[in-house]
Symmetry: C2
Subunit: 258 residues, 2 copies
C-alpha cells in the first residue's frame, strides 16, 4: 500500500518504521514542523511536507498519527484537498469515529489504534502490540485487518465504546501505575533510599498477573484490614495531603468488592 | 547456622527452602497450625512443633516469619522459655525494632526483611530480592549480613525509619499497583474485552523504568492537561464513585509536582 503519514511524533515514527520493515510504502510524511517531517521522511525514504496543499492526493491510506485535538481539523483539510475516496484512519484510543463527521464528504474512514505507550528511545516489539481497528465500510475493515496482521499478532476489531473503555483502562494500568512508581520513588528518595530497591518487587507484581486475576491476588494492609499499619502509613504521609488522599481512597477501593 | 523457623506461611516457606538450598540448617519449624508445621518441617528435614514449650532452646538463630501482630507475643514467649542469649529476628517491613522491648530480657534482636511479595505458587528468584537487615548489636549485624549475602545479591542495612518508609513505598508500587490492574480488568470485562489485552502495555510501563525516573516518563491525559479526555473518562465511570475519586485524585497528583 502507498501510505501518507500525517504526523511525525512517537506514534508516527514507530508506525512508519514498522510499515517500512514489513514492506509497505510510506510515500510522504506531513508535519507542521518542517524539520520533524524531513527527519522522519528521510528515515522512511519518503517525501516530506509541512504544507497541507502539498499532501499527496493519490495514496491508498492516510494515517493521522496526531494529537487528538488535531484529528478533526486535519480530516477536514484532507476533504478540502479533494481526498474523499481514499481510506483515512486516526490512531487515537480516546477519539470516537464521529470525529470524521465534521468532514462529511469523507466516506472511507476508520481507526487504527495501537494499544501501547511509545517513547523516542525504546524500540517497541510491534508483534506484541494489540492493534484495535474499526472502519465505517466493510471493505475498508478488511484492508485494515490485513495491514494490522502484517504488523502485529494481536489484532482486535472493537467499536467506539469498547475503544473508549480500553483507553480508560489503559490510563489506569499505564499512566496511573507509572504515577504510583513516581510516588514510590519520592518516598524512597525522601528517606535516603534508591528507587532501584523497588524494582524486583515491581517486576514480581507484574509477573504474578499470570497466576490469576489481580483482584484475587491482592495483598497488603488494605485487604487484610490491618488498621494499625494503615494508620502508621497515613502518619508517615503527614504533610503530604494528596498522597494521604491517594492512600485512603485506594485502601477504601481495595476493601470494597470491585 | 542452626535455625528455628517460627511460622509456616509464605515467607517462612520460601525462606526455609532458600536456607536449605544454601546449606543452612533449619532444625525446627514452629506453627500454631500443627499440620502446616509438619508439612514445612518435612520439606526442610526439620522437627516440627505447635507447642511453645517445645521450641528448641539451643539454636543459633530464631526467624519470626509471622503476622505483624504476633511478633511481640512470640518474642515474649521465647524470652519466657529462657531463650535470651540467642539471636532473634523478625521478617516484617512494617514492624519497628521496639516490638522486642516488651520482652526486655531479649538482648540479641534484629530484623531480616525480604522486600518481596511471596505467593504459594511462584518460586521467587531469591538472589534478586533485596534483604534489609538491622540488629541491636554490632556482632549480630555481621552475622545477619553474612547470612543475607548467602541468600541474595542485594543486602541493605537500613534503620527502622527507612524500613517503615520502604514498606510504605512497597504498598504504593505493589499493592496499589495491583489494585489498578484489578480496576483495569473490571473496565475491560464490563465492556466485553479481555484483561490480557492490557498485558503488553503493562509490561512496557515497567520496562520504561530503565529509561528514566517515572515522574519524568509520565504520559497520558493528566500530564497533558487534556481536559476533554479527562471529562470523557469521568463520564465513562458514572455510577462508580470510588473509581471516579481515584481517577480525580490521581489526575490531580500527576498535575502537581511531586
Amino acid at each position: 500500500m502507498r501510505i501518507v503519514l500525517i504526523g511525525a511524533g512517537n506514534v508516527a515514527t514507530h508506525f512508519g518504521r514498522k510499515l517500512m520493515e514489513v514492506g509497505e510504502q510510506v510515500i510522504q510524511v506531513f508535519s507542521r514542523n518542517r524539520l520533524k517531517a524531513l527527519q522522519l521522511a528521510k528515515e522512511l525514504e519518503a517525501a516530506a511536507t509541512n504544507d497541507f496543499a502539498e499532501i499527496n492526493t493519490d495514496a491508498d491510506l492516510y494515517i493521522l498519527a496526531v494529537h487528538d485535538d488535531a484529528i478533526g481539523e486535519i480530516a477536514a483539510q484532507l476533504a478540502e484537498n479533494g481526498i474523499t475516496d481514499k481510506l483515512i484512519v486516526h490512531t487515537s484510543g480516546a477519539t470516537p469515529m464521529r470525529v470524521f463527521e465534521a468532514a462529511s464528504t469523507l466516506k472511507r474512514v476508520g481507526v487504527f489504534y495501537p494499544l501501547q505507550t511509545f517513547s523516542k528511545i525504546r524500540k517497541p516489539d510491534f508483534q506484541k502490540i494489540p492493534i484495535c481497528i474499526e472502519a465505517r465500510q466493510e471493505d475498508d475493515l478488511t484492508i485494515l485487518l490485513n495491514l494490522a496482521h502484517n504488523l502485529s499478532n494481536k489484532v482486535y476489531h472493537i467499536n467506539d465504546e469498547q475503544r473508549a473503555s480500553l483507553h480508560l483502562a489503559a490510563v489506569f494500568v499505564n499512566n496511573f501505575t507509572n504515577h504510583l512508581f513516581a510516588i514510590g520513588e519520592k518516598i524512597q528518595t525522601d528517606s535516603g533510599l534508591h528507587f532501584e530497591m523497588l524494582l524486583p518487587l515491581i517486576h514480581e507484581t507484574v509477573a504474578k498477573l499470570t497466576e490469576g486475576p489481580p483482584a484475587v491476588m491482592q495483598t497488603g494492609p488494605a485487604i487484610r484490614h490491618d488498621e494499625a499499619t494503615i494508620l502508621r502509613h497515613l502518619h508517615l504521609l503527614s504533610g503530604q495531603p494528596t498522597l494521604q488522599e491517594i492512600y485512603q481512597i485506594m485502601t477504601k477501593s481495595i476493601q470494597q468488592t470491585l
